[in-house]
Symmetry: C2
C-alpha cells in the first residue's frame, strides 16, 4: 500500500487548478472575540458543488483512461462525494452512476441528478452498498471512485491544505492548529500531508460528531475502530463505519488527537455562521467551527484554521435551526 | 459643496485599513452558467457588522475631534448604518445614539444595542427623524453622522470600489459593468468614484427595488426625484425618500442608467444565494444579484461585478424565503 505524499498533493493541485475554486480564507472579528484567539475560516462551502469533495473527485477521474471504462464511473455517497463525482465526470466526459442512501438529504439527491448522473438509491440499514456498486462496476465496465480511501482522492482533498498554508503565510502568520471535519478521513489526511510537510510546527486535528468518533478512537487505540451506528446524527456527511486503511495510515503519522462535538453544538455553530458570518454551512461542515465556539479544541490565545467543509443543507432543516 | 474625489477614497482606505475587512471577490461557475457571462461577487456581507456601512462610518468618525463632541455621535438608520456607526464609535471611543424606525428588523435593533449604542425608536410615518436627531445633537453636544450624503461617508464606501478594481485586475480582467445596490447612493457614488477613475471603460450602475427607484429616475430627469412611499418593500435597507445632494451630484457625472428589480426577483436571488452560493444575503443586499439572475442588467457575454452589500436579514424572513 503506497501512501500519498506531498508530491502527490502538488500534482493534484496542478491537475485541478483550472477547474476547482481556490476558496477564500477569511477572518471574523466577532468569532475571534468569542474564541479569544485568531480563527481563520477556510470556506470550502464556496467550492464547486458546495463542498471540498470536488477536489478529490476531479483529481481521481482525470487520471482514469476513459477508453478503459465505457461505463464511466461509479460512486457510493451520502451526497457531497456524489455531487463531486457527478460534476467531475461530466467535465471529463465520463458517465457517472451514483449509489446513494435513500435517507440522504433530498437536496443532495436532486443536485446529483441535475449534474447529469444516474442515481441508484439503497437502504442504509438493509442493503449492501458495496455489493451494489461492485455489481455495477462489473456489469457496465465502470471504474469505482471511492469516497476517501484512495491515494488520488486524498491527494486531491489535500490541495485545500496547500491553499491554507499559502493563504496563512500571506498574512504573515503560522497556524498553531488546523481543525478538519472528519468522516472517513480523506480531507483530514490530505490536509495533514500538505500542512505537516510545509508547516511542521502546525498541529492538524480531526473533529467528529460525538457518537461517530471512530477516527478519534482509532488514533487513540492505534488500530481502526468502528462506530456503533450508521444513523442518528444530523451530520449526514460524516456517517461512516470506520476510517479508511490509507487515511488511517496517513492519520496515525500526521494527525494529532481528535475532538468531538454534540448535536446541539453543531446546531449552534450553524446558527452562529448564519447570524454572525453570513455563511451557509451544513451540519457535517460545521463541526470544526463548533469545536472552537465551545472551547472543545484549544483555540484560545492561538492561531487556528477551521475548515468549513460543506454547505449543502436541506432548506427545511436550515430554516428550523435558524428560526 | 465640495464633491469627494479619488484622493479622498485613497485617504479613506488608509484610515480604515487596520479596522475594516478587505472582503473577498468570488466567482461561481453555477452563476456564470446561469447568466451566460462572468460574474464576480464582492462580498460586503462579510464586512464588519455584516454590511459595507462600517467603511464609511469608520472613515467619518475617525476624522472627528472627540473633545469637540462630548455627546459622541448621533445617527438615523434603518439598521446597517446604525450598526456601522455603533461599532466605529465604540472602536474610536465615542458614545453613539442611534435613531431607528420602530419597524426596522428586530435583529438590526438588537445588534445595534449589542454594539454599545443607545437606541431611540421613532415611527416612520408620523415622526420626523431628522428633528429627533437634530434635537439630540444640540442637547448632548454630539456630531451627526449622516447615512450617505457626506463626503467622508461616500469616500469610505468608495474603498469597496478600490478593492474591486484591484481584485479584478489581479485576475487579469477588466469589468464591463459594476452593479451596486442603491438607496441614498453613498455606496454607488463612492464605488463610482473609485471605479470610473481607475478603470474608465467600466460602467457603474445602480440597482433599486422597482417601487423605490428614485435614483434611476433622478439620473433620467437630471434632478433629484422622490419616491412615492417610504414603506412597502422587503428591502428595508433601501427605503429612502430621495438621492442625497452630494451622492446625486457625483452620480450624474459617474453613474450610468440604473436598473430595478421586483420583490419576487429579490426573494429568488436570496434563495439562489442560499442554495447555490451558500451565502446569506439580505433583501437590500441582493438587488444587484437579482438584476443579473433575471437578465435585467445586461450581463450576458460580459464581465460584471455584483456587490452583495449586506447580510443582516431577520431569521424568520430568511426561513420563509428558503423553505
Amino acid at each position: 500500500m503506497r501512501l500519498p505524499t506531498i508530491a502527490d498533493v502538488h500534482s493534484a493541485a496542478e491537475r485541478i487548478a483550472l477547474y476547482a475554486v481556490r476558496t477564500p480564507l477569511i477572518e471574523s472579528h466577532v468569532l475571534n472575540d468569542r474564541v479569544g484567539g485568531r480563527v481563520l475560516l477556510k470556506l470550502e462551502t464556496l467550492q464547486r458543488v458546495g463542498a471540498f469533495k470536488f477536489r478529490g473527485a476531479y483529481n481521481k477521474i482525470s487520471r482514469l483512461n476513459r477508453g478503459a471504462y465505457p461505463g464511466g464511473v461509479v460512486a457510493c455517497s451520502s451526497g457531497n462525494h456524489a455531487q463531486g463525482v457527478a460534476l467531475a465526470a461530466s467535465l471529463l466526459g465520463f458517465k457517472a452512476v451514483i449509489v446513494m442512501p435513500r435517507d440522504a438529504p433530498a437536496i443532495k439527491i436532486a443536485r446529483t441528478k441535475a449534474l447529469g448522473a444516474e442515481v441508484i438509491l439503497f437502504d442504509r440499514l438493509t442493503d449492501d452498498r458495496v455489493a451494489i456498486a461492485n455489481a455495477l462496476v462489473k456489469a457496465r465496465g465502470a471504474a469505482l471512485v471511492l469516497p476517501f480511501d484512495d491515494l488520488d482522492i486524498i491527494a486531491g482533498q489535500g490541495t485545500a491544505g496547500l491553499e491554507i498554508v499559502e493563504q496563512v503565510k500571506k498574512r504573515g502568520l503560522t497556524p498553531d492548529l488546523v481543525l478538519v471535519p472528519c468522516s472517513g478521513g480523506g480531507l483530514a489526511s490530505g490536509i495533514a500531508i500538505a500542512v505537516r510537510n510545509l508547516s511542521p510546527t502546525t498541529v492538524v486535528s480531526t473533529v467528529e460528531p460525538s457518537e461517530f468518533d471512530d477516527f478519534k478512537r482509532s488514533l487513540q487505540s492505534g488500530k481502526r475502530e468502528r462506530n456503533a451506528r450508521l444513523t442518528g446524527s444530523i451530520c449526514d456527511a460524516l456517517l461512516v463505519s470506520e476510517p479508511g486503511e490509507i487515511t488511517f495510515a496517513v492519520g496515525r503519522e500526521l494527525l494529532s488527537s481528535g475532538y468531538t462535538v454534540s448535536e446541539e453544538q453543531v446546531r449552534d455553530a450553524i446558527r452562529f455562521a448564519f447570524e454572525e458570518l453570513k455563511l451557509v454551512v451544513e451540519p457535517g461542515g460545521a463541526v470544526a467551527l463548533a469545536s472552537v465556539l465551545f472551547g472543545v479544541a484549544p483555540a484560545k490565545g492561538k492561531t487556528t484554521v477551521v475548515v468549513l467543509s460543506g454547505g449543502n443543507i436541506d432548506p427545511l432543516l436550515f430554516a428550523e435551526i435558524i428560526a
